[in-house]
Amino acid sequence: MTETSQGSGGSAPRTPPEGREADGPDGRLVSLAKRVPVGKGPGGPRPPAGAGAAAVRGPGEIRHLGLAAALVLLAGVGLATQPENFATSGNVVAILVLAATIGVITVGQTFVIIGGGIDLSVGSVMALASVWATTVATQSYGPAVMALCAILVGTGTGVVSGLLISYGRLVPFIATLAMLVAARGLAQRMSDRKTQLIRPENDALVALSTTRVLGLPLVVYIFAAVAFAGWLLLNRTTFGRRTFAVGGNPEAARLAGIDVRRHTLALYALSGFCCGIAAIIIMARTTTGSSTHGDLYELDAIAAVIIGGTLLTGGRGTVVGSILGVLIFTLITNLFILNGLQTSDQLIAKGAIIVAAVLLQRRGLRSPT
C-alpha cells in the first residue's frame, strides 16, 4: 500500500497527463496492455528528457554546476586576495600537481563507495607501493619496473582487502582499517622508516613531474587520463552499471544474476590499482618513496567523494563530482597557503565545507528537478 502511495504521490509534479491516468485508481478492468497508448501521435507527449542514448542515466548532473560555481567562487577569492600570485601559471600548475595524487586515489574511492563499500587503506597502500617501488632491489630493474611494481603492490593489497570483504564477509570498514594499519607497518619495515631516494639512473620516473607538455607536467595528464578512464568505466561499461546495482541494492543485483562478491572484489582491486598510480605520481613529485607518504589521504579522498555528491550508502554518485570535490579541497589549501593562514584554520574550513556541501545537496535532492 505504501508502494502505491509513493508511486502516484511522488510522480505528481512531472507526470504528463497520460501518466496520471495510468496511476489513477480508476479501477478499469479492461486489459490495457493491448490498448494503443494514448497520445502517441505527433504532438503527443513531450519527448522524454535527454532522449536518445543519454536517457539511460538520470538527471542529477545539475549539482555539478553548484560545485563548479563553488570552484569559481574560490578562484574569485584567490584573485581578490592575491591578485599577483594566484593567477600565475606557476600557481595553477602547483594546484593541479597537488590535486593529481589525491585525485587519482579519489577516482578509485568513488567506485568503492558507489558500490556500497569504503576503502580506508588508500593512503597507506600508496605509501607501501612507493616504498616497495623504491627499494634497492626494485630500483635495479629501472623505472618501468618500478612503476609496474607500484601498480602491482597497490592492486595486490586491493585484492586482499576485497577478498576479506567479499568472500571473508568482513565489514569493509574493518577490513580496510586493518589494511590501513598493516600496510603502513609493512612500509615502515621495508624502508626501515627511512626515506628512499630515487637513484639518478631512474630519473625517468621523476621526469613525469618535470617534463612539461603544453605547460603542464606529465603527472597532470596522468590524473586527467585516470579521471577520464574512470568516467568511461562508470558510465559506459557494464562494470560501471553493475557497480551502481551492487551498491544500490545488493539483493536485487544478486537476484538479477550479478555475481556480487566477484564484483565487490574487483572494486577494491580497482581502488588499489589507483593507489598504485598515485604512488607513481607521488614518487615523481617528491623523488622519494616513504612510509610517511599519504598520511590521512583516506579522509581527504572520502571527503572529496562525499562533497561530489556520491551517496555514502552506495548506489549513486559520479566521478565528475569527486574530481570537483578534490579540486575544491586543493584550491582551499592553496588559498590558505598563499594568504599565509594557519593550517588549523584550513582544517576548520574544510570541515565546514563538507557539512555545507552535504546539506545543500540534500536540499537539491528534495526539490523536484
Binding site: D23, L29, A53
Partner: protein, 509 residues
C-alpha cells in the same frame, strides 16, 4: 447487552481507511468483550493488517469511531494506544536482539531515576512478569537474540503486560512456533483471559481458532461480513464460504485451448528438492507456455521453493533442470544464463534499484547483451528499453524516469521487462506475488501480460496469496502446505473454497 458481563471492552464502528487506489477498510464493525479471545479471519487483502494497525495507532482511520472501555478514544500513535491499554504483538516480533530480556520488556518506558536505568528493578519486574506467564525459567539478563522463537514471543507478551494491557492483539502468533510451543501459547492466553484481558487473535489455522477462540469475525473486502460467530460451533464450510466470493471481480485473460502435453516440451523440472525447515521433497514441472500456480499460506514454504528453484537459496537435496539439463544450485547467475527470470516478492528490496531510472532497472540483468568487451552500446540499450516500454505499456513511457516515481503496477512491469529483453532466451519466468501493491485496475493488465508471455512459449511459475488469482491465471495449480505439495490439479477443475479448505484445514493437524 446491558449486563456487565457482555459490556464490550472495545467497540469499533464504521472504520474506513483509504489508501491511494485501495479502500482497505470499508466500514468495519468489531466488538470485543473483556476476557474473550476474539478471532479475526479473512483472506489476504481482506483488511486484517490494516485493522490491527488502526488499533495499534499506526494508521489513522479516515472515518468511524473507536470506543475503548466505555470511552471514545483517538489512537493518535503507538504510544497513545499503549497508554490506553492496547498492546499489539506483530508477526515479525519487534524485539531488539542485542538487548537483554529485561531491557526489551521495558524498552521505551524504562525504569529509571534521573535518566539512569535501574537495572535491578527492571530485572526484578521482568522476572515477575515472566513468572506470571509461566516462564520463570527465561533469564531476565539473557540477550534476546539468543532465545528461540517461542522465548521471544513470551518476551513480547511480557512487554505487552508491562503496559498493563487490557487488550492484546496477536497477529499470527503461532506462525513461528512448533506445535508443542503452540500449546504453551494457548495456556498463557487462557490465563490472561481468565484475568480479564481480551485477546484479538489472528490466524489462518481454523483448528487453532476452534481450540482457543470464543467468537469469530470474518473480514472480506474491507468489511466485516460476519460479526461474533461462535468459534467452536460454526462449521468450516460456513466460514470458508464467508471468506470466499470476493466482490472484487478480477478480469483474467482467456485461457488458450489446451494443447496436447507432448506438443509442449518441459521447460522446468524440479526433482525431490528439499530445504530443511522450509520444504521437503518438492517435485514439479512446468511446460513451455504453461502457467503453474502455487497456492499456500505465508510461511508454507512457497516463496522458498521459488527462490531455491531460481538459485537464490541452496537446497540440501534434489535438483533443478531447465530443458532437461541440471542447473548449478545456489547460483542466480547460472539460473539467468540458463534462461530463468524472477520477479521476487519484495519488489523494492529484492528487485528494484530505487536510485536508478526505468532503463537502468530494465537492463541490469542483461547488460552483457549490449556490451562488447564491457563497452556499452547505449543507443541499442535505450532502443530496446523503449521497445519493452511500448510492449508492456509502461506509463509514463519514459526510460529516463526514476523508477521510484512509478506506480506499483508499472514498477512490476519494469521488473518483467527486465527478463523480456532477450525474449528468445527466456525459458522460465518465476513470479512471487506479482500483483502485491498493485491496484485493481492495473492487475488486469498484468494478468494479460503474463498470459501473453506464456503464449510466446515461456513457462511461468507463480505464487500468490490470493486463491482467486492462482485459479484465474494458472493452468495447473499446486497446493503447498507446510512445505509439501499436497495437491496438484487442473485449475479449471478446482474452485476457491476447495483450495482454501486444503490450504487452511490441513495446517490444523
Amino acid at each position: 447487552m446491558g449486563s456487565p458481563e457482555t459490556e464490550p471492552l472495545l467497540l469499533m464502528r464504521g472504520i474506513v481507511k483509504q489508501f491511494p487506489g485501495v479502500r482497505a477498510l470499508d466500514g468495519v464493525d468489531l466488538d470485543v468483550r473483556p476476557g474473550e479471545v476474539h478471532c479475526l479471519l479473512g483472506q489476504n487483502g481482506a483488511g486484517k493488517s490494516t485493522l490491527i494497525k488502526v488499533l495499534a495507532g499506526a494508521h489513522q482511520p479516515d472515518e468511524g469511531e473507536i470506543v475503548f472501555a466505555g470511552e471514545p478514544v483517538r489512537l493518535a500513535g503507538p504510544n497513545a494506544a499503549m497508554r490506553a491499554g492496547i498492546a499489539t504483538i506483530y508477526q515479525e516480533l519487534d524485539l531488539v536482539d542485542g538487548l537483554s530480556v529485561a531491557e526489551n520488556i521495558f524498552l521505551g518506558h524504562e525504569k529509571s531515576t534521573l535518566g539512569f536505568t535501574r537495572r535491578g528493578d527492571a530485572e526484578r519486574a521482568a522476572r515477575e512478569l515472566l513468572g506470571r506467564l509461566g516462564h520463570a525459567e527465561i533469564p531476565a539478563r539473557r540477550e534476546v537474540g539468543r532465545l528461540p522463537a517461542a522465548g521471544k514471543q513470551v518476551v513480547s507478551m511480557a512487554r505487552a503486560l508491562s503496559h498493563e494491557a487490557r487488550l492484546l492483539v496477536m497477529d499470527e502468533p503461532s506462525a513461528a512456533l512448533a506445535h508443542d510451543e503452540v500449546g504453551n501459547l494457548f495456556r498463557i492466553i487462557r490465563e490472561l483471559t481468565a484475568a480479564g484481558v481480551a485477546v484479538i487473535y489472528i490466524s489462518h489455522r481454523l483448528a487453532e481458532i476452534r481450540e482457543i477462540g470464543d467468537r469469530v469475525t470474518v473480514l472480506k473486502d474491507g468489511r466485516a461480513v460476519a460479526v461474533g460467530l461462535p468459534a467452536r460451533t460454526t462449521s468450516t464450510d460456513e466460514i470458508v464460504s464467508l471468506m470466499t466470493g470476493r466482490d472484487v471481480e478480477y478480469v483474467f485473460p482467456e485461457r488458450p485451448e489446451p494443447v496436447a502435453e507432448e506438443d509442449r516440451p518441459e521447460v522446468l523440472r524440479v526433482e525431490h528438492l528439499t530445504l530443511p525447515g522450509s520444504f521437503e521433497d518438492v517435485s514439479l514441472s512446468v511446460r513451455a507456455g504453461e502457467i503453474v500456480g502455487l497456492a499456500g499460506l505465508v510461511g508454507s514454504g512457497r516463496s522458498e521453493i521459488l527462490e531455491t528453484v531460481y538459485g537464490a537459496r541452496r537446497p540440501a537435496r534434489g535438483r533443478v533442470l531447465i530443458d532437461g539439463r541440471p542447473v548449478r544450485p545456489g547460483d542466480t547467475g547460472a539460473a539467468v544464463r540458463r534462461g530463468m527470470g524472477m520477479a521476487p516478492e519484495e519488489r523494492k528490496s529484492q528487485a528494484l534499484l530505487m536510485n536508478e531510472t526505468v532503463a537502468g532497472n530494465v537492463t541490469v540483468a542483461g547488460l552483457s547483451r549490449y556490451a562488447s568487451f564491457g563497452w556499452l552500446d547505449r543507443r541499442r540499450e535505450t532502443a530496446d528499453v523503449r521497445r519493452q516500454i511500448e510492449a508492456l505499456d509502461i506509463r509514463p513511457p519514459d526510460p529516463a524516469r526514476p523508477v521510484v516515481t512509478l506506480s506499483g503496477g508499472n514498477q512490476q512491469k519494469v521488473v518483467l521487462a527486465r527478463w523480456l529483453l532477450g525474449s528468445a532466451g527466456l525459458r522460465l519466468l518465476i513470479l512471487d506475488e506479482p500483483t502485491r501493491g498493485v491496484d485493481v485496475g492495473a492487475r488486469a493488465e498484468l494478468y494479460a501480460v503474463i498470459r501473453e508471455l506464456a503464449g510466446r512459449g515461456i513457462g511461468v511459475l507463480l505464487v500468490s496469496s490470493e486463491v482467486p488469482e492462482v485459479l484465474g491465471l494458472a493452468d495447473r495449480v499446486l497446493v503447498v502446505r507446510e512445505g509439501r505439495i499436497v495437491h496438484t490439479g487442473d485449475a479449471r477443475a478446482l474452485d476457491e473454497a476447495t483450495v482454501l479448505n486444503m490450504i487452511m484445514e490441513g495446517s490444523a493437524l
